[in-house]
């Protein structure tokens, strides 16, 4: 089942409803990259609220989505990482280095609509 990609203005929202196969992840990355260009999107939100695990391939692919979108002029925010998933990722050394994160979809939308893109979280001050 393909991940639905919603378009709201210049924001693309991809909500993962279930754990994806590696093939589905790659397909999502390619579709997002394509649609960023086609719809002239300025932001991408990847919503993982429904997931209770993120493995290394998924993490790497989502990071790839963010880098690809950035090269095509769009900013990416990953939203909805659950407490258990966050801690498991950290323990396994998986990170979203350089990728913005937000608590949930509402917060992600507020972030991409309200503020300019930051160069990096560590450079916030």
């Amino acid at each position: 089942m393909a991940v639905p990609i919603l378009k709201q203005g210049d924001v693309l929202i991809a909500s993962m409803q279930e754990a994806l196969t590696d093939r589905a992840l790659i397909e999502l990355r390619d579709r997002l990259s394509d649609q960023v260009g086609r719809f002239r999107a300025r932001s991408v939100i990847v919503d993982v609220t429904a997931l209770d695990v993120l493995d290394s391939f998924a993490t790497r692919t989502i990071r790839g989505i963010a880098y690809t979108a950035k090269l095509r002029g769009a900013r990416t925010v990953v939203v909805g990482i659950q407490p258990e998933v966050a801690f498991a990722m950290v323990e396994l050394g998986l990170t979203f280095e350089g990728v913005e994160t937000a608590l949930d979809l509402e917060e992600g939308l507020a972030l991409v609509r309200g503020g300019p893109a930051k160069g990096g979280r560590d450079g916030a001050r």
């Binding site: 990482i81 659950q82 998933v85 966050a86 801690f87 950290v90 990170t95 994160t101 608590l103 979280r121």
Partner: protein, 319 residues
Amino acid sequence: MADGKLAWMSRALPHELAVDEEEVARRKEFLEFRDEDIEQLKGLRELARKYADPVIEEFYRHILSFDETKAFFRDPKVLARVKQLQKDYFVRLTEGDYGAAYVANRLKIGAAHEHVNLEPKWYLGMYAFYLRLVARRLQEAFASEPSRAMTAFLSLMKLVFLDVGLAVDTYIHAREATMRKQQEAIRELSTPVLQIRERLLLLPIIGVIDTHRARLITDSLLRAIRANRAKVVVMDVTGVATIDSKVANHLIQTVTAAGLMGAKVIVTGLSSDVAQALVALGLDLAKLETVGDLQGGIEEAERLLGYEVVRTGAGAQPG
């Protein structure tokens, strides 16, 4: 011998110490308390009845000659009742029935003594005194048959040590229950996550952080971030005297995990010693955003959330 079911004993005991049929049988086996021992003890029944009064009187003269144990018997009625219970016990040692009812009674007595704060040293000392009294009486009674006195005494000693073991169990069990409650209370106190403004959480940490507690802190914080939709967390470690590398790594993981959930963590209150220790550990501290003290941390957090705190003219006037 057939022991009855002991499941009901849990209800009889305030601490729910479960000593089941199998456990009792195992203890008796270890003590080599056998049928012949039971026969030996039953053979002492008449003797026990004859000596009950003088032994108990001597026993309580001893107890009452020490301030620590005398303190439990200020009330003459209590003393009279306890003496009677002691006589009953004395005779019961020779009645040949050491099954479920006997064990339940011993556990209850042990729990009662623990409950009134009779310390184990006195309680065990009483058993020792008891055995000396009985040994002397047995020698008198079997002056013409010394080996019989010894055999009977050894059987009695096995039974008394069964009793001592049960009594000590009640003390240990009660102390462990107390410690468990205290640890639970400390644990709850040790990971408070406070919401001090909308979307701003404060996590003050005080005391020793071990790995177990560090994990609790992480769990509490991450769940609170979700529950309160927090954007900024101030984690204050002013009250933490020392942090080792495992705990430091864990805190860094906590900060990173919170970041994955979209929350920024500001660490405040790192003491000079802790800061130097962290540097010496060679950890990657780039991930930590720190402010010197709690006040600065809260101010920075409020700034990040778009708050502005200003002093009003009226409030600034002295007097």
